[in-house]
Assembly symmetry: C3
Homo-oligomer: 109 residues x 3
């Protein structure tokens, strides 16, 4: 038994939840902020059998991996015209920080 603690971006949270459910893995979500990832994030707790760890890591990587995204230019508001970028820019979104923790005993009541 292992407990997988995965910190991911909020925007990937629903997609990861759905992918885990489709594969019959159960997860609990904890509201979390800051730190490992810049934007708002969510911490997943996923209890798995030892032989399922790689499967779940694949699901996390497939749904949350850091990737580039084109962001449309935003019209300057107020006096920020100097920093206005008139073309789409690539920003990095997503990403996951994952800890696989040993579990000594597991109980379900």
């Amino acid at each position: 038994m292992k407990l997988i603690i995965a910190v991911i971006q909020d925007k990937d949270s629903n997609r990861l939840s759905n992918a885990l459910v489709e594969n019959n893995f159960q997860a609990t979500k904890l509201a979390s902020t800051g730190g490992f990832l810049k934007a708002g994030n969510t911490t997943f707790l996923i209890g798995v059998k030892d032989e399922e760890v790689e499967d779940v890591l694949g699901i996390i990587q497939g749904n949350c991996k850091a990737r580039e995204q084109l962001v449309a230019p935003v019209s300057p508001m107020g006096g920020n015209a100097d920093s206005y970028v008139p073309y789409p820019v690539e920003v990095q979104v997503g990403g996951a920080t994952v800890f696989i923790m040993p579990v000594e005993q597991f109980e379900k009541f």
Copy 2:
């Protein structure tokens, strides 16, 4: 030293908190959602000595165990009369998913 991570239903949260306090165990509660249990849930972190694990598991089981509960029929609102059940039904409530984690070092400042 062990860290007990227990995911339980919100409705059992106060009862478990009180039972832990009465038995001189300290717990931290994390707001959590979805997953291991269907309804809203709460994740308890409880730090205990090795020899106290069984006591705390007993307290969790005694206060959070999955059980049947009779739910009174609810009058149908709007057009749901087709699915109206005119007698009390048994639903499962409660339940706890519990991970007992090894702790390498413990500090209190």
Copy 3:
């Protein structure tokens, strides 16, 4: 690799966050309540290399240690004049409960 789980008082949370960032440690904060510490608290998850554990413990102790604080007297409102204390009193603030957990595998996607 270790995962440091630190429960600290809300009032020390920003100070600890800043001190961790200044020292290039990343942390995720979980909203938490009650238990190990009386007032509102925050749970930090901090992933570190084995040789960094002592550094991080020092930063937690330096920013969150339990200490005495003088609290100014509050004018009695309503009928509480009997319990009014007309001079500043020392109360204990801060404090940290810290679990250092073994990590079996760590992944960053």
